[in-house]
């Protein structure tokens, strides 16, 4: 190959000469007969390489002040040619020139996984925190008083039957209200909170609860609830509706609708069950909502005056003011099963998986 002749060593002349060399290289690389090894030998070979020859010739002839200009341009040209070569090679073989198989898996340290229940519970709690609710917690072993009596479940009341209770051993010697049991709902925390604080009150209560239920795909003796309580002057049933409608939209998206049905809970009156429009089909009806377009999600109601009466009574026993005056204040409470919501949200078919510690299950939530 010929070595282009330089007319002078001005930058413009150098640029023109280098452009000429580059064009030659590109033509060679893109030619149909291109052979990588051949090209390397001819162009980049240490002794006989074309680039080396040009470099030697031009540098020899150049005045001192132009040597640097030529050097810079050579380096740039060499790099460009190398990159072109690399790109050609990659196109040919799919393997990068440096020898890395970029399709092999990376080596990041595996992160631990957030438990779907813990995550769901935290999300629900934070919806209510944003609405001005404080978090309340209570013990998992409760007395009959907090779990039943104060919540308007009188002794021998049929409603107690629905709450198959696990009890602590050897309680027979104690008065009924002091007997220890595994709380069957998070509602006792409502009572504990009202004993400690005067209204206004806004609480969201997450926690673990227990029932003496045989385990199957939808039942577990251990499960989780989030409960809420709002007490103030002038709290109405329409406020309860509005609050839950807002919370469900915040949690499931603004398209979700709610509807309320009369229900029965000893500690609320009026009581309601709440359904949300199916989050899978938008209410058109699908397998997940049993073709009804609705999914049952919450229980709620206005706090029964009998509950406020128990709280006042107990406050007096504790030497506190009976400040839950039903002539002045009212409130609402609501509760939901976190397990069911998590199962629905993630399509979990067996509640037992939540309590299995099975890595194959948990790692799906990574």
């Amino acid at each position: 190959m010929n070595i282009p002749q330089l007319t002078d060593f001005s930058e413009a002349s150098l640029d023109a000469a280098f452009a000429e060399v580059r064009a030659l290289a590109e033509t060679a690389i893109t030619a149909a007969s291109f052979d990588k090894e051949q090209f390397r030998l001819e162009w980049l070979g240490r002794k006989q390489g074309y680039l080396g020859q040009i470099s030697d010739t031009w540098l020899k002839a150049a005045p001192v002040e132009a040597k640097k200009l030529i050097g810079q341009r050579f380096n740039a040209l060499k790099q460009t040619i190398e990159e072109k070569l690399a790109a050609e090679t990659l196109l040919d073989s799919g393997i990068e020139i440096s020898g890395l198989d970029i399709t092999l898996p990376g080596t990041a340290q595996r992160l631990g996984v957030e438990h779907p229940l813990v995550k769901t519970m935290a999300e629900i709690v934070s919806v209510f925190q944003r609405m001005g609710y404080s978090v309340g917690l209570g013990p998992e072993v409760e007395t009959d008083f907090y779990n039943f009596e104060a919540l308007n479940f009188p002794p021998n009341h049929p409603a107690r039957d629905t709450q198959d209770t696990l009890v602590v051993d050897a309680q027979d010697g104690k008065p009924l209200r002091d007997r220890l049991l595994m709380r069957t709902h998070t509602s006792p925390v409502q009572i504990r909170s009202m004993l400690e604080q005067a209204p206004p009150l806004r609480l969201v209560i997450p926690g673990k609860v227990h029932r003496n239920d045989a385990a199957d795909a939808t039942h577990s003796p251990v499960f989780h609830q989030v409960e809420g309580l709002c007490v103030d002057t002038n709290i109405t049933f329409s406020d309860l509706k509005g609050t839950l409608d807002h919370a469900m939209k915040a949690f499931f998206g603004s398209a979700v609708k709610t509807r309320f049905f009369p229900s029965f809970f000893p500690f609320t009156e009026p009581s309601a069950d709440v359904q949300i429009s199916c989050i899978f089909c938008g209410g058109k009806g699908c397998r997940k909502c049993k073709h009804s377009g609705w999914i049952e999600l919450l229980g709620c109601g206005m706090v029964d005056p009998a509950v406020f009466a128990s709280v006042n009574q107990r406050r007096i026993e504790l030497g506190r003011e009976p400040v839950y005056d039903t002539a002045r204040i009212s409130g609402f409470a609501f509760g939901m099963g976190v397990d069911r919501i998590a199962m629905m949200k993630y399509g979990i078919s067996d509640i037992g998986l939540l309590y299995s510690g099975d890595m194959r299950f948990l790692e799906q939530f990574a």
Binding site: R110, L111, G112, V113, E114, H115, L117, V118, S134, V135, P139, E140, V141, N156, P158, L166, V167, V168, D169, A170, Q171, P200, L201, R202, K208, N212, A214, P221, V222, C230, D232, N234, T236, F237, S238, D239, K241, G242, T243, H246, R259, F260, F261, P262, S263, F264, E269, P270, S271, A272, D304, P305, S330, Y355, S356, G357, D358, M359, R360, L362
Partner: protein
């Protein structure tokens, strides 16, 4: 319970809505229709009615709800009007001895019946309900039950010896019931008896010997009211849950007994022939009537209705006229006492209504919950975050960052595991789900060990789990709860050239605990005191936080490994998380980073096995070399054959980093520091290697 719409509509002549619409409107008012099935001239509804509304678990009860919802008239219940005797005669003698448990008892004689399965409308309805007619008089009692929800009973009159006595059972008294079982009664059971013997378990089930059979000629019809608590206790005691007990234990209609008796008597004659003899006996205990049918009125203020219920979607609110209309339709009698105030006489069938709030609920219910507006309460107050929320979050995120996934296990464990995993006291459950769940868990490691074993048994060989949850100590007198934390790991430990492969799991767990505790303010030290029995000998440690024990960790002992059929090493940690939740989080402080070069120096020594890293570390720190930045082991080597390194000793490469914040270190600084380090290591019993 099932409802047939033709039957229902027979009480609602003016009702014009479709069966489908009716089902939806009832459901939205809490009288839930769970399923609808077409029948010959209408629909069969499968109902799901909450147990507080036993009054509505029958056709007439549902009809009353519909009448209230649509504001249409409700026809009087047919066949319940007073019934004249066909032949004069003495009324049947009835004595109520248990005057606190039986409030009303009606009885009437029908003679000359010819028992055969029911026909006509009853048979037609039964067919639509999938119920087979058995014998006219019994079918009639079932029909009465389905119509109006009042249990009734028919006796074969000729098996009775003397008049009826309602009394408590004699202890040990035997009674064979309709289902053929023989029960031994206790003094608290209420029985319907004759002068010689118990005939039936009151309010629960009739007796075998006095039952109506194909050969029965003369009949006694009973309809009564029994005390809810007594019936509930009896039903539970004998494990008998019947339609009758279901109703009586939730409160039957005190006024319904004579109506039901008229209905059944009339229909028995219609179905089986015979003649009504004499007047109906109707014994009433006024004290119990006063508690039910004759309850005092309730004061209702329209302003309270509005204060509790709030805004309606149409903006009109609940008016006084709506209040009066709904309550009247439900069977209440309203007498105005002042402007916007009423004395409300309650219907005898609604024992669930006792207070003003109960009436407010009825108004909301009939109005329709979804016709109320969605409003938000205004709120002035402070939002309080839990004091330890941040600590809890830190524990979770740190452990996840270290590769541990969160798990939740059972709250219970076996007594055996409780003793194995902790020396702390454990509390027993009185009615455990199983023996394996007999105790409240006093530690989280039992559950963790189980979860890891389950993974291994499912061929999941690499496991990293943590659980944070409540653990329980104390006694059955007083249970003490605190938050615990467990870590568990097995399989492919993080490789580290410093440690032998068989020790890697232990050091990974130790590293995780160190990283976790480093998030909190407090001094962390380790020792091997008071380790529990589940930890393999020499393979575990105890962690102290500010001098107080906070955790134990180590490898599961060989015995436990074998008992659980585990073929690979499992390491566990039990942490008292309550201490961490109460501890302040470490507040990071930024220090200036030195501009001067750091210099590494390695020291190769042979040490006897008795010299531990902690000795080396502390003796070097005791030199108080100001430029000493860090000390660390880089290589540890033992030769099992005792050749390269003698048995009972190990070689150790210690790397020390010097750096000054003020200047570049001179050679003489480094030489001086190095010789002090060599001297200190030699003083520990080390021999410097070439």
């Amino acid at each position: 319970m099932d409802i047939l719409t033709p039957w229902l509509r027979s009480y609602l002549p003016a009702l014009s809505v479709t069966d489908e619409q009716l089902a939806e409107d009832l459901t939205l008012r809490g009288i839930a229709v769970e399923g609808t099935f077409a029948i010959a001239n209408g629909t069969r509804y499968e109902m799901d009615i909450t147990t507080n509304r036993v009054d509505a678990m029958n056709h007439y009860g549902v009809a009353r709800e519909a009448a209230a919802i649509y504001n249409v008239p409700l026809a009087p219940l047919p066949a319940t009007a007073p019934l004249a005797a066909d032949k004069p005669g003495d009324s049947f003698p009835v004595t109520i001895e248990a005057r606190d448990l039986c409030g009303r008892f009606t009885a009437r004689i029908v003679r000359g019946v010819n028992v055969k399965p029911a026909s006509g409308l009853i048979a037609e309805y039964f067919a639509a309900l999938g119920q087979k007619p058995i014998s006219g008089p019994v079918d009639v009692t079932n029909f009465g039950w389905l119509s109006m929800g009042q249990p009734t009973h028919v006796f074969d009159l000729d098996t009775l010896e003397g008049g009826i006595i309602v009394r408590r059972a004699k202890p040990g008294e035997k009674l064979r019931l309709l289902d053929g079982t023989e029960k031994t009664l206790v003094a608290e059971d209420l029985v319907v008896a004759d002068e010689k013997k118990a005939l039936g378990l009151a309010g629960v089930m009739g007796g075998w010997d006095s039952r109506v059979t194909e050969t029965t000629k003369n009949i006694l019809v009973e309809a009564a009211w029994f005390d809810p608590a007594a019936i509930r206790a009896s039903s539970r005691r004998h494990g008998l849950h019947t339609d009758a007990s279901h109703r009586f234990e939730r409160g039957a209609d005190f006024a319904a007994a004579p109506l039901a008796n008229n209905l059944v008597t009339r229909l028995v004659v219609e179905q089986a022939g015979g003649e009504v003899i004499g007047e109906m006996t109707d014994i009433i205990i006024p004290a119990l009537a006063a508690k039910t049918a004759d309850r005092p009125t309730i004061a209702l203020r329209v302003s309270e209705v509005q204060r509790h219920l709030g805004t309606t979607a149409d903006g009109l609110g609940i008016s006084e006229s709506i209040v009066a209309q709904y309550l009247t339709a439900l069977g209440c009698t309203l007498t105005q006492t002042a402007a916007g105030e009423y004395a409300v006489k309650l219907p005898s069938w609604r024992l669930d209504l006792e207070r003003e709030i109960d009436l407010i609920e009825e108004i909301a219910r009939v109005y329709g919950y979804n016709k109320f507006a969605n409003t938000l309460p205004t709120f002035i107050g402070t939002v309080i975050e839990l004091p330890h929320a941040e600590q809890e979050h830190t524990i979770r995120t740190t452990l996840r960052g270290l590769g541990f996934s969160e798990a939740i296990s059972s709250t219970f464990c076996s007594a055996e595991e409780a003793t194995l995993f902790t020396t702390a006291s454990a509390v027993a459950i009185g009615n455990p789900l199983s023996a394996e769940a007999g105790m409240l868990r006093p530690a989280l490691t039992p559950g963790m060990a189980t979860m890891i074993a389950n993974n291994l048994h499912r061929d999941v060989s690499t496991v990293r789990l943590f659980e944070m949850g409540t653990v329980f100590n104390g006694s059955t007198a007083e249970v003490i709860e605190h938050t615990g934390l467990s870590l568990g790991l097995t399989g492919s430990a993080i490789a580290n050239s410093l440690y032998r492969a068989e020790d890697a799991l232990f050091y990974e767990l130790k590293g995780a605990l160190e990283a976790l505790l480093a998030k909190f303010t407090g001094a962390v030290t380790f020792d091997t005191n008071e380790l529990p029995a589940w930890i393999a000998l020499g393979r575990g440690a105890r962690v102290l936080f500010n001098g107080q024990p906070i955790a134990v960790f180590g490898e599961l002992s060989a015995t436990e490994q074998q008992r659980r059929k585990l073929r690979q090493t499992v390491a566990l940690a039990e942490v008292n998380a309550a201490v961490l939740l109460a501890a302040p989080l470490r507040q990071p402080v930024s220090r200036e980073i030195s501009r001067f070069q750091a210099v590494e120096r390695d020291f190769s020594f042979l040490f006897p096995d008795t010299v531990r890293w902690a000795d080396i570390d502390s003796s070097l720190r005791a030199l108080k070399i100001p430029e000493l930045q860090s000390i660390g082991p880089v290589e540890i080597f033992r030769d099992p054959k005792g050749k390269a390194v003698a048995a009972g000793t190990y070689s150790l490469l210690v790397r020390v980093v010097f750096q000054s914040t003020e200047r570049t270190l001179a050679d003489e600084d480094l030489t001086g520091n190095s010789s002090r380090i060599i001297a200190a290591l030699t003083a520990l019993g080390g021999v410097q290697r070439a």
